[in-house]
Symmetry: C2
Subunit: 454 residues, 2 copies
């Protein structure tokens, strides 16, 4: 019997995260205060984020950041996550490629998001914070933060986009089971929410509004900090535990990836699996390809523009140098809710600009088709977000079939789809459509960012 | 950092199942043909079940049954399942007990049921069968069989109790994603279904009717066999892979269980974790206690009677010597749908009668309370069925706290609750009630079995 799954001993769980910023040939451009256009310092972030996370956000020097022992102990309840050779998927495709996946779906919250939630909750606790808050759309991040808060004895308040609150009751229940307080957004608990509800009592909410409500709560509550599950540099940092483990596990399998593939929303999952391998391209001359798989309905890397833009729709955040579709971009309501974000993280955008990574976009019907094949061959029903990475993997594996090359492909399975079965139902009944964006539509949205760069 | 999870190398996945029948001091009484009262031979089962499973059902001789290599290869995609030391649950309870759980929720279908589904599908395929069929209530077994059929290239038809079909759409979607055809039962596809629907077009179905429909399909379709997910001896046999792994993993942890605990419906999960350890009580004089945790609403072991009874409501099966509440028993609609069965498997009933195991019953609110504590401490949201094992574990761990004894408790986490979040919702909103059965009610139901024993 050929070995299929590779798992590390608990003592081999990484002791440090890898800080990509420290090794980049071109450092990311500074994050700017939109009023003064001055580069942000860590202190500028302290009112909203924990101090430690704020420092990590702007650290361009230290290559290795120690993982606190208390966080590592929490990691040990689900890490190392398995690295799996997808023999049955290979067989179904008839490809000579060797396909591996890193299975992050085994975490308590069902996705990779917990890797950063535990770190952020821990740093908050250490700083004397008692309450943390965040927004959630699809619910993966909210579920992860709820669990992390529970582990470190913090109160957790999640603003959940009202349409998701109603459409994804299981996600809400998961957060409640982990002990968090969930408020549908917009709500009457903040000025931002009230303003919207007094104009339209039936407002179904948006991620932009939920962010505003969570930040307002953090700013107006003693000992309360805000947290974010993607886009930011310190989130990417925490996620590198994925790739660092995968590196050791690929060694166990006796292989090194020719391609590393992940889905791409704000970039946290992609960073996690890619950065530890990408450092070898920079430092050791390896030639691995890094492929971000994004939805055609939200193609920030394939069709966006690199410039300064706001991180949120309302324009409350600092200005970030990034690939963006414009902060006014309104993505279609695809089922991969976690990939519906207009911009890419700052580090990732610089790496994309400098040619260290590439991107491909996929219509959602193709991603569900890929997800069903994966479920039937490898036995894990993937989250709609993860289906994008699978679609890209299948595409590359079929190229190998044509060329006859036995390339090694590693992709990240970011989460499972057990609470997304409604989306699969709609795929089977043919109720899922693809969304084609014209160049004119995209150009119109990007204008909202263009204005900030004049 | 203390080691928390114990995982076996792939080569240590068991090569044989353990056949409890071979070592029992008192063999189970024969299964009888209800018309002739003669003991059943394997051939009598061939029209419905595969030949190999029929032989295993009545095998009282061979202690070790080889696991076919093709089944073992499929096991390797999720086995060994982790054995976990529940440090955080221990801490929350303040108990000196050492609590371990065997996590069967990591399988493709989310529960232990797949261990037998893969074996049954494999034997069917080897015999030249092309189609397999079954019934499902809660959906755990149907999902497992759907996946197993997919792996061995069989068509799979599942009759799903109509009320579940409508109330548990996610379970239905999981089966569909794995490629099965799902029919709400009663249906117009069988005589049994038609008879009911012509009387009452709104009949919401029952497990009894779904069994009848599946058996009718198997009998009337060329190359089609019926399968069952619990109760039967061959199902218990396949599940022993759980306990055999756990035995090696407990060795890795340097401990041996003073108590082994599992939830109890028909007995497949309990057999799986308990039998491999129970053989040491019989053969080596070990003194481990084996505790079956059943719902107060369906207390076959704690309040049932040992006698011959039918395995189904309609009286289509052979007569089984077992602890039963009577085949006419109508359990309340508790959320642990997988535990709503009137009888206990034949081997288990004999062992219970002979004092090798004990049973405790729990009201469902207590089990959900236990499940929430487990989710918050150990990070896995348990299936409502598994919550019964957790409730029993907590009860025993608190006894250790009182007595100051550091006993070692091992329980089986049979499945996760990601698709049962609706039940948790209702628990949180106080919509879940307990069901108290009077002695008179129970006696009335048991009469349906008493009549068969005169």
């Amino acid at each position: 019997m050929k070995q299929k799954r590779f798992i590390l001993d608990e003592k081999e769980i990484p002791t440090h995260w890898f800080n990509m910023q420290a090794v980049m040939p071109n450092k990311p451009m500074p994050i700017l205060n939109p009023a003064t256009r001055e580069a942000l310092k860590p202190e500028d972030l302290y009112p909203i984020f924990c101090e430690e996370c704020s420092k990590q956000e702007l650290d361009q020097t230290n290559e290795w950041i120690p993982i606190p022992e208390a966080v590592r102990e929490q990691y040990a309840s689900y890490r190392s996550t398995p690295l799996v050779r997808a023999y049955e998927l290979e067989k179904a495709l008839g490809t000579p490629a060797h396909i591996y996946f890193k299975n992050e779906s085994v975490s308590p919250s069902g996705s990779h998001k917990l890797n950063s939630a535990l770190a952020q909750a821990y740093y908050a606790k250490m700083q004397g914070v008692t309450n943390i808050t965040t927004e959630t759309g699809a619910g993966q991040w909210g579920g992860s933060l709820s669990y992390a808060a529970q582990k470190f004895g913090l109160e957790c308040a999640v603003y959940m986009v009202k349409s998701s609150f109603n459409q994804k009751p299981y996600r809400r229940s998961i957060m409640q089971t982990f002990g968090a307080a969930i408020t549908p957004s917009p709500s009457m608990s903040t000025r931002a929410g009230k303003d919207l509800l007094t104009i339209n009592p039936n407002d179904q909410g948006s991620l932009g509004c939920a962010i505003s409500e969570a930040i307002e709560l953090a700013l107006s509550t003693p000992n309360c900090k805000y947290t974010l599950g993607s886009v930011l540099n310190h989130v990417s940092l925490h996620q590198t535990v994925i790739g660092l483990e995968a590196e050791k596990q690929m060694e166990m399998a006796g292989e090194y990836p020719d391609m590393v593939i992940a889905c791409f929303g704000g970039g946290s999952n992609f960073s996690g699996i890619a950065f530890p391998f990408m450092r070898h391209n920079i430092q050791k001359g390896k030639k691995t390809r890094f492929i971000a798989a994004e939805p055609s309905a939200c193609p920030k890397l394939t069709r966006g523009k690199f410039e300064y833009d706001f991180g949120d729709e309302a324009g409350l955040t600092p200005l970030l140098p990034m690939y963006t579709l414009g902060h006014s971009f309104k993505p279609a309501t695809i089922h991969a809710g976690g990939l519906r974000y207009h911009g890419a993280g700052v580090i990732l955008s610089q790496l994309m600009k400098d040619g260290f990574m590439e991107a491909q976009d996929f219509p959602q019907t193709e991603t569900f088709k890929a997800g069903v094949l994966f479920a039937r061959t490898e036995g894990i029903i993937p989250a709609p977000e993860s289906c994008h990475a699978i679609a890209a993997t299948i595409k590359e594996a079929l190229k190998c079939k044509e060329s006859g090359e036995a390339k090694t492909i590693l992709f990240c399975l970011s989460g499972h789809g057990f609470v997304d079965m409604g989306s699969y139902d709609r795929y089977f009944t043919g109720e899922i459509s693809d969304f084609n964006l014209s160049n004119e539509e995209i150009a119109k949205f990007i204008e909202s960012a263009d204005k900030l760069n004049k």
